[in-house]
Structures are given as structure tokens and as C-alpha cells.
Subunit: 260 residues, 2 copies
DNA sequence: AGGTAGCGTCTCATGCAGCGGAACGCTTTC
DNA sequence: GAAAGCGTTCCGCTGCATGAGACGCTACCT
């Protein structure tokens, strides 16, 4: 008999949509352009299948062929801009983000929570701003960033417990990995209305973050990231002012229109 | 016209990916949240099919159910941020866009060409900036906007002819609809290195645009939009400066990395 | 009350389109 | 010349997508 005792293989779930998505998500890893075989490797799909599906995706303008492989194309970008979470929230927040940038000339972030992750919605940077490794559309654990800790601090106790129960991931040597420490820090954040990140996500970079609350529910967080030596106590009031102003504006909008 | 082959009406091509995309694209129209029946109407797909596919899309985090209908969800946003055209180009351009904003405090646009359309890649706005109806990810005809005319002016003669051959769309009473007029304006743009839009896309709004050229090929355009009464001759040099600086930076990057 | 229109959901027989192992032709590398 | 990697194509099997239609529900009319 053939030794297929492993039974490892997924029962062939013929879900075309899911497979198409798998292929697109393969581009989340390192590298910009991927060759067909590389996609097959990352997704675990047979080469012939990847070939067929990518051909379709190219026709739909979601992927594009270049000499160095396939890359996500403009159609995918247009789809992404249909998401109210992104569009509406960003639109409302942008003027306040600009104020913040102009007052400090540092890198500004706008982020929301999804599951146990921070997802960055906007990132504004000038020439002088530090280039933190965050990416719009990228994810990081809640416990390792300024915005993450703020988003967590104002969430329901349930979610906080969930995070504390799990092992805390470490991005730098300064990352908080002790549950007790994190817990007391969350308490401090709730009182102060501001959270800090001291090189916990990226070496040499500190940041100050504040919550955006709508009807007492947290919907987003704003932050400023600076090289640690440039940290100053005039940053917190600036971030706090912006987050309060944005909160006030969002209160007047319909909840679903910003993705809540 | 008669060159069309017999296949007049699409026989039911069982292309799941295409249908999934159709459903997502239904959200391009007016309205944020769509009910299932409305999606069926817009796409022309049977209700049962839409039901099945939307269920899958929800599982994949591309759509989300709300009480007022389905809306695009965070997963779709994340996919959109995988597109180098958006990410790389934006990343490189952002500092210069910020300079431009800070110098003028007006609404700044970054756009590229796709086919015969302008596609907006970035839009930065403060409190004072006019709220033009453009949307990031949105499309407008090349001939009706400042960025569009600049993108066209520096394209191959082939493309220009193609546009001139077709009827020119009109967005306001000031829109250029005469091919001869447009042609001479394109010539002026090529000489001056700057293009103008005098209420041709939106009533009361004028704008100044400049090309971003890499190795003598146009890859994008920058613009500033202002209420017509605020138009001033110090805008053109500012836009020109930014576009030249950005061009210089992009020259040092690999072509495919910004979607070229 | 009934009547109607709209909504989302679920079923199920049918057949066709997705499936993927395998073979192919090509280039590059050793 | 062999081997390894690439993208492409073939083709028979079958499992899944398909969509008409029934169903239950709510809302809003008579």
C-alpha cells in the first residue's frame, strides 16, 4: 500500500474564492513580485491551479504580470478604497492628523483594532520623521505598540483578559512581556488618557498614543512616533488634543459609516 | 462594430472569481451598506448565488454584515495595501506632499493614469482645504482634471490621439470639450511643465498640477486644488518644486517597485 | 383581519467547470 | 549532458457551483 498514513492533505474543498484570496495574501510576505512557483509554494496549492487562478486574477486587473513576476495591480487598490473603515475614518481624521504633523513634524499613526491585533489605517511622514517599520494595512500585536496598548486599555475587560492570558509577544528587548506589568500599565493609561511606548516595538523609537472614543467606545487610536532622544513632554498634550477633537467629530457621524 | 463574433450574450461562465469581484464592485455605486437584494440587482446575479458568495466573502473578512446591510470589511482594505503602485509610490511621495501641504495648506492630490482615466492615489486635506469630490481610488476622465491633463500631455502621441478621437466628457460648464482646444493646451503644458484646471472638474475649484517623470516617462502627477478666488501665482512653483524632487527620488528606485 | 411586497434563507437535482497529476518545452546552472 | 527550476498545457474525473423555487419573516398597505 502507498504510505499515505499521514492524511495530511486538506480534503479538496473546492472553494475558488478562498483560493483566490490565498493567492493574493501570498503577497503579504517579503518581496514585491512573486513568480508562479513561489506562490504555489507559499499557498500550498498545485502549480496548475495557481496558474489557472492567477490568469483569471490578471484578467480582472487584480494582478499584473511583470518580467520579475506577478504583482498586485490597481484593481485591488481600488477595491481596498471601498472599505468605509478606511475611507470614512481616514477622511474624518485627516485634518487632525495634519494638525498633529504640522505641530511636531513627526511620524503620525492612526490605527484600529481587529481581533488581537493593531491594524494601521494611516501613516503620515515627512522628511524628518522616523521611518518606523509599520505599514498601512499591516498588523502588530496589541501589547507591543503605543496605539495597541491604548486600544486595549479602553476595551472590555473580556478582551484584556484574553490578551493577558496568552503569552505576550516580544518585538524588542523593551517589549512588555509580563502580564502583571501590562495590566498596571493599562490602568495608568485609562487614568491618564495617554499611553506610551518606549522602544517596545522598534529599537530607538518611542511613541505617545491617545484613544478616539465614540459614545464611550474606543474606535481608533492616534499616535506620534519619535526617535527616543527627541521625546518631549509637549507631545502628549498635542496627541490628546487631536484625539479629543476627532472623537467629537465622529460622535456626529452614523456608527456604521466608519466601520463600527 | 460588426466585427463582434457570435457570442453576443455571455453564456453563464462559471467563473466564481469574476462573480465575487462583481459583488465587491457593486459597492462602488452610491450607498455604503448594501442589502443582499440590492447587490443582486446591481450585479444581475441570482439572489441565491449572491447569498452563497456573500456568505463566503463574509467568512473571508472581505465583507461584514451590519444591521443596515453588507459593507466591505477590513480584509479587503488589507489586500488593497499590498499594491506597490499605491504603497511604494505613496511612501516615496508623502514627504513631498507634506511639504506642499505645509507651504499652502490646500488640498493636495497624487494621481496616476490607468487606461483613459485618472486614478487618485493620495489626497491630503486640512481644515481649510476645499473638499473636492475626488476620492482616493476614484476615477475621472483624463481630460477633465488638472492632473489628468498633465498625465495626458506627457504620454505618447498614440494615447493623446485616442483621447482626442473620442467625445470629451463634461463635468462642469467649464470643462474642455473641444479637441482642438485641448490639444493646444496639452502643448502649453509640455512647454510650461505645469497644467491648470479652472473649475473644469468641480464648480468653484481650480487647480495647478505638475508631472512626475522617471527616465522621461510620466508615472504620476501632483496637484493643488483651491477655491478659485484663492488662486495665486505662487502655487505653480511650489507644485513644480515638489514634482521635480519626487521625480529625482523615484529615478533611484527599481521601476517595478512603484508599479511601473 | 387579510393582502402584498420585500427581505434573507435553504433545498436539491443537474451538469459542467474546477481540479490537479503529469508531461512538455524552455532556460539556467553545474 | 544532466539536473533543476521555471511557466505552460493537456485531459479525464468528479465534486462543487449553480439557480429556480419554496419558505418564513417583517412591514406596510388596505
Amino acid at each position: 500500500m502507498s504510505g499515505d498514513e499521514a492524511g495530511r492533505q486538506e480534503p479538496p474543498r473546492g472553494n475558488t474564492l478562498e483560493r483566490g484570496l490565498q493567492i493574493l495574501q501570498a503577497f503579504r510576505g517579503p518581496g514585491t513580485a512573486l513568480r508562479l512557483s513561489e506562490i504555489a509554494r507559499r499557498t500550498g496549492l498545485p502549480k496548475a491551479t495557481v496558474h489557472r487562478l492567477t490568469t483569471q486574477l490578471v484578467e480582472l486587473s487584480l494582478l499584473r504580470r511583470t518580467e520579475s513576476g506577478l504583482i498586485p495591480d490597481i484593481g485591488l487598490f481600488e477595491l481596498g478604497e471601498l472599505v468605509p473603515l478606511k475611507v470614512r475614518l481616514r477622511e474624518a481624521a485627516l485634518p487632525y492628523i495634519q494638525d498633529l504633523y504640522e505641530a511636531t513634524h513627526e511620524t503620525v499613526h492612526l490605527a484600529v483594532r481587529d481581533g488581537l491585533d493593531v491594524v494601521y489605517v494611516e501613516k503620515i511622514r515627512g522628511h524628518r520623521g522616523v521611518d518606523v517599520p509599520s505599514r498601512v494595512g499591516g498588523r502588530l500585536p496589541l501589547s507591543t505598540t503605543g496605539v495597541g496598548k491604548v486600544l486595549l486599555a479602553f476595551s472590555e475587560a473580556e478582551l484584556i483578559d484574553e490578551v493577558l492570558r496568552r503569552p505576550l509577544r516580544r518585538l524588542t528587548s523593551h517589549s512588555v512581556t509580563d502580564a502583571g506589568l501590562l495590566q498596571s500599565e493599562l490602568r495608568r493609561i485609562r487614568i491618564a488618557g495617554v499611553g506610551y511606548d518606549r522602544e517596545e516595538a522598534s529599537p530607538g523609537v518611542s511613541c505617545v498614543a491617545a484613544p478616539v472614543l465614540v459614545r464611550n467606545e474606543i474606535v481608533a487610536a492616534l499616535s506620534i512616533s519619535v526617535p527616543s532622544q527627541r521625546i518631549s513632554n509637549r507631545l502628549a498634550p498635542a496627541v490628546r488634543t487631536a484625539s479629543l477633537a476627532l472623537s467629537r467629530v465622529l460622535n456626529r457621524m452614523a456608527p456604521f459609516s466608519y466601520g463600527g
